[in-house]
Each structure stands twice: as C-alpha cells, then as structure tokens.
C-alpha cells in the first residue's frame, strides 16, 4: 500500500503515459474576483490503468474531468493525451455522466449506437456494416444484462438499467480513454455495488484507460489501480494511494483488513485541511 511496494507490483504505471497533467491550474471568476480552484496538479495515467480521483465537494474533481473531455478549456499548464495537448473533445474518449443522459427519443439500442453515428471513423463504416455494428452493440448490452431491453425507451428503464446502458454507450466506439463522472451517485447502495463488479468486467474486457471521479472511497479502492486524493480548494493532489489488491476483485474483498486499512488511510487524508 505504500508507493514503493505497489510500484513493484503494477508495472503498467511505468509505461508511456496515456494521459498526463502537467502543472495544471484553473481559476473561476466569482463576482469579478478570480478564485483559484485547482493549483499545480501533475499526474500521469498509464496504459489500461484505472485511476480514481476523490476529494471533498467543490474541490474541482469534475472540472479536472471536463478538462480531459475537452469540454472545458485548460487554465494553466497542459493536459496531454498521448503526448498531445487536449484542446477539443476527442472521439477516442468515452464519457458516462452522473445522471445517465440517454436521449429520450431513442431506444436503448439506438442510444448505444449514437457514438457510432457521430464519431467520424465509425460513421463512414456504419452505413455499409450496420448489422455488424448492431450485433456489436447487442453483445455489449448482453454483457450488462440488457439484452431484453434493447428496444425499450429510456423512460421504461430503471435507474440502474439506464446507467448500464450509458456505460455501454461510453464504450461502444472502443475509446482509448473512459471518463466516469460519479456515474453511480444516483443509485441505491446495492445496485451501486453490482455496478462496481460490472464496470470492472467491462474495463477488463475493453482494456480502456479509465478515470473515475467519485465521493465513494470504497468504490475508488474497489475499482482502481491508483487513487488520487485532492485537497480542499484551491486544490492540489494531497495523497496518492496505489491499490494492489489482486484482480478480478470481489465484493468480499471490501471486508478484508487490507481494504479497510486503505479506506482509513484515504479517509484521513480527505479530512486534513
């Protein structure tokens, strides 16, 4: 659990960074006055690594994610994807939001197919190979248990089903980077834990570099290779935890001594002002 120990067990961290924050800062204007939100954040995420960012409310976790998505401009410093600074939304990124925003006029299957209709490389192929792409989407829906609901509209799905569909949509175009903005915050505790296992399966299958923003420390430990803790505003990274639990992880692991110790460690660093 200390850095030296875990670095030895997870070699992928040392390979070339997929995602890199280079001394990133951000400030908002609040009633005319500049208010620093994020300061001097540098971190790098390796190939197929699963990273979580935790921290107190309003510390700028979501802002950090938005910078990666290209929806928000980077203030100071650089956010690089495979060495290139991010300036606009990238089609090699998949995003799942806190509330699963499915388009209400599309069925589950049509919602999952949306990225393929929009992302240029797939769009050209979709016309000729519609059935192949549909099979791909149906396979993905089957892995999350939604095979019987592909022709249903979002209003006919439960919250958990919507979020599963939204994860499928984030992954269908085989993104190199998966961004998760508190994707399970609106779900009840049991559904949430089911989703952890599900997400772990999807991640293992897709080998997608992933960044998760969450308030739930157990969720962060369960899913991540590395957990970054942000301090209160103006935020800096105050702590890094390498999680060296073996994979695939099971919910039973949440009750082990190791897990509990990591949880306590994170908890302490979040409280520190």
């Amino acid at each position: 659990m200390t850095e030296q120990l875990s670095l030895a067990t997870s070699p992928q961290v040392e390979t070339a960074a997929v995602l890199e924050f280079r001394d990133v800062g951000l400030q908002y204007r609040m009633s005319g006055r500049p208010m620093p939100v994020i300061e001097h954040i540098s971190l790098s995420v390796g190939e197929a690594e699963f990273v979580s960012i935790v921290g107190p409310s309003g510390c700028g976790k979501t802002s950090l994610l938005r910078m990666i998505s290209g929806l928000n401009p980077v203030g100071k410093g650089q956010v690089c994807f495979r060495g290139e600074p991010i300036t606009k939304p990238l089609s090699s990124v998949g995003i799942a939001f806190q509330n699963p925003v499915l388009l209400p006029w599309r069925t589950t299957l049509q919602n999952v197919l949306l990225p393929l209709e929009v992302v240029p490389t797939h769009r050209r192929q979709l016309k000729n190979q519609r059935s192949r792409y549909e099979t791909m989407a149906q396979d993905l829906l089957a892995t999350v248990g939604l095979e019987d609901f592909q022709h249903h509209y979002p209003r006919q799905l439960s919250g958990g089903m919507k979020q599963r569909a939204s994860l499928c949509r984030a992954l269908i175009h085989q993104p190199e980077l998966l961004l998760l903005d508190e994707p399970f915050a609106a779900l009840d505790a049991f559904t949430r834990e089911e989703m952890w296992e599900l997400l772990q399966r999807l991640w293992a299958r897709s080998q997608c570099t992933s960044v998760l923003v969450t308030h739930n420390l157990r969720e962060a430990i369960f899913l991540s290779d590395t957990v970054y803790v942000m301090g209160p505003r103006p935020s800096q990274m105050v702590y890094t935890l390498k999680v060296d639990l073996p994979r695939p992880r099971t919910l039973d692991m949440c009750f082990t001594e190791d897990f509990h110790q990591m949880y306590t460690e994170l908890r302490q660093h979040i409280q520190r002002k």
């Binding site: 929806l71 939304p89 249903h152 509209y153």
Partner: protein, 285 residues
Amino acid sequence: MAVTASNIGKGSPYARSAQVKANPFLLANRSIRRLLALALFFGIWQLLCATGFDLFINFQLVPAPTEVAKATLEFFTADPWVHIKSSLMRVLLGYAIASSLGIVLGVLIGWFEAFEDLLLPPLELLRPIPAVAWIPLAILMFPNAESGMVYITSIGAFFPVLISTVRGVESTLSDTVLIRVGQCLGARPWHIFKHIVVPGSMPSIASGLTIGMGNAWFCLVTAEILAGRYGVGYITWESYVTSNYPPIVMGMLLIGLMGAASSWIVSRATGALMPWRVIRKQGSA
C-alpha cells in the same frame, strides 16, 4: 429486476396494476361522456331558441338547431362538394406553405443567431396583424383571388408554427445536459442538430402544427370574402350579406367540424412520429 420485459413493452407497467374494473356507471365510459356533452350543447341551444330567451343575450333571432339542420340538409342535397373541395384546397395549400416555411425559418432563427437578428424583428412586427386586415393588400398584391385566399389562410397557420419551432429549438439548445452528450463525442454541429435538436424540438413543433391547422380554418371565412362563388366560408359570408341566417350557423359549424377533424389528424400524425412520448392525464385509467 422485478419488472419483466414483456409487461413493460405494452405501455406503462404501473397502468396495469392501477387499472379499474368495468365501472357500472355509464358516465365512466369516455365515448358516452363525450356524446352526452354534445347532446347537452345542442339541447340547451334548442331550448333557448324555443323559449325565445332574451336576457342581455338575445336568442329570438338565432336559428335553432332544427333550422340549421334543415339548411344543412338543403346544402348537402344540392352540390356541397364544390364548396367543401374549394375550401379544403385553399386551407390545405395555405397550411402546407405556411408550415414548411414556418418550420424552415423557425429552425434557422432558433439555431443561428444571425438569422434571429435578421428575420425575427420584421416577423414579430407582422405577427399581431389579423388576417382580415390583410384583405386589401391581398387584393393588391396577388394576381388572382385564389392565391390571395391561400395567402390569407397561410398567414393564420404560419405564425404558430414559426414561434413553436423557434421555441422548440431554443429549449432543446438550453438543455445543456442533452447537448453535452453530443459534444463530448466530438460531434459536429450538424450531428448535434440532426440527432439532438431536431427530435428534441419535435413536441413543440407538433403543437405549433396542430394550432396552425386550426388557425388556417379560422382564417377561411376571412379569406373567402375574396371568393366569387364557391367555398364554405363564402356561403357563410354570402348568407350574412343576404340576411339568411340558418346557413351562417351551418357554415360556422361545418368549418368548426372540418377544422377540428384536420387538427385531430395533424396531432395524431405528429404523435405517431414521437413514439417515445406517453401522455398520462389526471383521472385517466
């Protein structure tokens, strides 16, 4: 997952459990309630005429439903289709022009700021002008009465379609959560327009189309003041000029009927384009 796929497919699963058993009272049947409402309407009207009701509102000279029915019978035993056909053609042509123009301009105004600045001010200036005020200009501007009449019916349909389309596009654009779905995929504006803005503004456009259909009929009598011989609105106007009252009421009711029917068709047709919407009202089973 207690809900199975099969029962969700057939409408809302909640409706099934809440469904009431056959109500012993006839009034619970919606078709009977509606027929009763119509019967009451005509009954009260007949009663007011028969008793010569005169308390501020005077029914003594108002044709009774029976007289109107007689006029209607006469109208239909003569050659009614010529009138109905010419009115229908005017309304449908005016409506087709107005709705396509309204949707196209509405989308442009809602989507592009430049179009809003360039098009909306003059249109807002023209919007409050009633159709009847256009009659003199319609005579001056158009080569024949027929095109003038189509123009006046289209005036009625155009503005509701235009404004609803603009509002629909704008409200979809204001839904940042939906727009972000497209943006984070790196979607081009065209794709955001096609996949998000168009379906998102459809409910609003549909209500504009339904109101516009009614308004086109609304303007028919006004338009057919220009008509020389044929048209339901023309009969209505002509009967007024010749002080023959039962056909006026017949014309009014006929226009109301055709207007209601075509609005219903429009709202059904647009509803079929939006299968994702389910409307559940208070007191509905």
